[in-house]
Subunit: 291 residues, 2 copies
């Protein structure tokens, strides 16, 4: 578990708001690991973690890449999160990028999986099924539900940006009049969770919208994916999205994990992380300009 | 894999459109299994499958109840789906109730997990992230993506029924003018999948809305949860939702699984399934009235 003030303190101490996405893709894991290890997912992760933990404040395994290998993949995930949780260079914030959510009793089971059985600090969740599907993830002190709001993929344009204030817009005092779906999602979620147990996923590819999102949601942390492979720009993000408690975690996955396909993959990953951290250190001094 | 015409033929032959939800909850699995088995999830499922497969056309394991037990739970899931796939009383349709979806490359991994590595025929998916998050589930011949449209839980009222035709409604030829989010989701999905590879989840607790949904989506199968514990009514559903190819699978989980907490749990589960099948047999003769 990690409270908001602890997370902010960690960011200030490490001068980094970098989250490293642990998406171990068997087709891209270097031969030196893939061909020699009994557990290539874990051994790849272990070396990535060791080489980046000094520059990162968070790790985010994406469940898709573990489930693909069935129960053996889940073992690799379990070993990975235990390894991070017990790391001598810790503590560090951990996010299960699982994008779960189901009716209440199923969501309760999912929340237990990641926040009790495994020592994750946070889980990403999809809002489509509404309050009872999200609440189980918001009921652990010092742990977090990270709700998809505006994602970084092209499909974000299909539903998330639809005007969803519709019928109710005739009542001028209706808080969602004229709002887009992702804004309605965030607004409603503010009733269900607090800045102490809820974050939002806001894609970096939508930097132009980040400013108005931050105005609507001043206090909550944002998890911002899409820097690097997906094209987001760190300075543009920080200038509009940071708040007085920093309030952002920026994720990079492929740009770090696959910086090299050789024996030096971990060293190169560490260098990539260090480069991002250097930029973040500067940005943490400059923003928010009103701090 | 199972094509639409094979599924319809199976339903007609078994005179049943029953899907049995395999949600093995350790707190409700009878003592005779829980206290004596090395793999209570699988042994519970195995006896439930044996006792209900004669009356059901589909099984739907809910991933939440397996993941809760980590890699061991995933092993139980793997054994369960292999057991169903190889059952002498088969074939039967299988749905991984996983409610996944993520950016394209992650969704590709999820689709592989359930539709390649494991022999599931279908996976439930959440539409919030749009087309690239759904397409990987719609690219296996004879296999299915089952998209959440209107769910049976109370949280369905939070976002799914918002008017989402918003801005675009000024163009009178805009196909989604005045439509609710779940209708827009279904309409857009019709461009991405066909009645041969896509179904929709429509909650039975919303029977009043099922008729208009069927008019909008005449050909696709609906997976209808919420009968029993969640209060849906079979006749009300069939009368409005069946099409000429039947077009519905109705799920029951807890009402069957936990019909008895004693040694006779599987016998009682079989009786519950038989009772539902009897009703379905009558409804299959009566509806659709225009067949």
């Amino acid at each position: 578990m990690m409270t908001r003030s602890e997370l902010t303190a960690l960011i200030r101490r490490k001068k980094s708001f970098l989250c490293v996405g642990l998406d171990p893709d068997m087709e891209r894991i270097p031969d030196c690991i893939r061909k020699k290890s009994d557990d290539p997912l874990f051994d790849f992760n272990r070396r990535i973690i060791d080489s980046t933990i000094g520059k990162a404040v968070a790790f985010k395994p994406n469940l898709a890449f573990y489930e693909m290998h069935g129960s053996k993949g889940w073992e690799s995930l379990e070993k990975t999160i235990e390894y991070i949780a017990g790391h001598q260079a810790g503590p560090v914030f951990t996010i299960a990028d699982a994008k779960r959510a189901d009716i209440g009793n199923s969501s309760t089971a999912y929340a237990r999986t990641f926040l009790e059985s495994m020592p994750f600090d946070a889980v990403t969740v999809s809002p489509y099924m509404g309050h009872d599907s999200l609440r189980p993830f918001l009921s652990y002190p010092g742990k977090w539900g990270v709700i998809l709001a505006l994602t970084s993929n092209s499909g974000a344009a299909d539903f998330q940006v639809l005007s969803a204030g519709g019928d109710e817009a005739v009542a001028t005092d209706y808080p969602n009049a004229g709002k887009k779906l992702y804004e309605v999602v965030m607004n409603k979620c503010l009733d269900w969770g607090s800045p102490e147990n809820m974050m939002f996923v806001v894609g970096a590819t939508k930097a132009a919208m980040l400013g108005s999102i931050r105005q609507m949601v001043p206090d909550h942390f944002f998890l911002i994916p899409g820097v690097g492979a997906q094209g987001g720009d760190l300075e543009a993000i920080a200038s509009v999205a940071m708040n007085k408690d920093v309030g952002i975690l920026v994720n990079s996955s492929r740009g770090i994990l696959y910086a090299s396909s050789g024996e030096d993959f971990d060293q190169k990953a560490g260098e990539e992380a260090a480069e991002l951290q250097k930029i973040m250190e500067v940005l943490l001094q400059r923003f928010p300009s009103n701090k």
